[in-house]
């Protein structure tokens, strides 16, 4: 199965195409703003208020939720919409793929496949809760802060954007790889040094 990658690529590409054909281009990162906004407006109910004079029907004291005639404010108040449910459905599909893969490897365990190896569990002696999860948390923070600033992520800007010939998609991709490649190399060097000591 040397050409498996083409199959994987065609499925991924087909999904991006189907999404824009049927509804709209795929985007994920906005929904992080929506979910954090739901928490925000639950704790502080005054941040988003009803305003009938607007198309969206909402107004917010927060400039971001209020942007584009309160578009985000409306999504926060009515989260059962296409974009939000789309993102909630992602783990379901991924879990299905996970189960299928596990089933496949269980039935043919003589045939070892590198890709199906589960991520090795961390040795229990090493590291505590914070050392294990703080880097992931911090990484997520940086990723979404950057994605919201750029108004899109790998899905929205890079994949959906470049597929449509969007100039911002190309610019985003160039900027991302400019820092991502050196960062990935430096992080590996640092961790190898620690492991090797």
């Amino acid at each position: 199965m040397r050409q498996k990658w083409i199959l994987q690529a065609m499925l991924l590409g087909a999904v991006f195409f189907l999404a824009v054909l049927i509804i709209k281009p795929i985007g994920v990162s906005t929904q992080f703003s929506v979910l954090s906004g739901i928490v925000h407006s639950t704790i502080d109910p005054n941040v988003i208020t009803v305003d009938e004079s607007r198309d969206s029907g909402y107004r917010s004291t927060n400039a971001y939720y209020d942007k584009s005639e309160g578009k985000l404010a409306k999504s926060i108040k009515h989260p059962i919409n296409y974009d939000f449910v789309f993102v909630l459905a992602i783990p379901l599909g991924a879990y299905l793929a996970h189960l299928l893969r596990r089933k496949k490897t269980n039935t043919q365990n003589t045939h070892e496949e590198v890709y199906s190896e589960p991520i090795p569990e961390l040795p229990k002696v090493k590291g505590n809760f914070w050392r294990t999860y703080a880097p992931s948390f911090l990484g997520g923070f940086i990723i979404l802060f950057g994605a919201r600033m750029a108004d899109g992520c790998t899905s929205g800007h890079m994949m959906s954007g470049m597929m449509q010939g969007s100039v911002s998609g190309y610019i985003f991709a160039a900027a991302v790889f400019l820092t991502a490649i050196p960062t990935a190399i430096i992080v590996e060097k640092l961790s190898l040094r620690k492991v090797g000591k």
């Binding site: 990658w5 509804i23 971001y64 992602i90 600033m149 100039v167």
Partner: protein, 201 residues
Amino acid sequence: MRILLAIILGGLFGFALHFAEASNPKKITQMLRLQDLSLMKIIVFAIGFASTLLFFADLVGIFDISHLSIKGVHLGVILGGLIFGIGFGSVGSCPGTCVAASTGDGFKKALATVLGGLVGAFVFSISYGWFKDLGLFSVMDLGKLTLFSISDEFPSLFSMGFIGLLITGVLFMAIAVLLPTNPSFGNSTVTETKQTDIGDL
């Protein structure tokens, strides 16, 4: 109906991400260290393939161009992209893939990334007004610029329409096929034996 489609398409997307192993942070970091470019091949080919399908959908007249959605160009795209890259490179995850990875292997770390992402998105929401006043979104504002004139709604660089998407689409797919999976300049043998990720620090 739209909600049902959201579940189907979102589920398909999650399935495709997992199937392509894009939800595995190790695959992403190995790609970024230029040691294993198989995921890069997949991404580049997928973009090209989707572009080509768009061209044909338009050709046979089944594509509704009001579905197109182009994001604007401004300084925030560059700065945000540079910041994004630091996180992307260090944890090997992005908004879509960490959501996809929140089930299955490594889900605890993925959930930590999702939580961090929610806080990051929230801090941005709070600071948006400040960035806006600084002019982050108005400097270098080129609007919703596209390469090819696929819709009157957006300004474009070249007036060749959807045929441009066919050209870039085929080009992307060709590049993907030609890209080596294991470039010789990456020390791939090191990572085969010592797979590391930031969590092992």
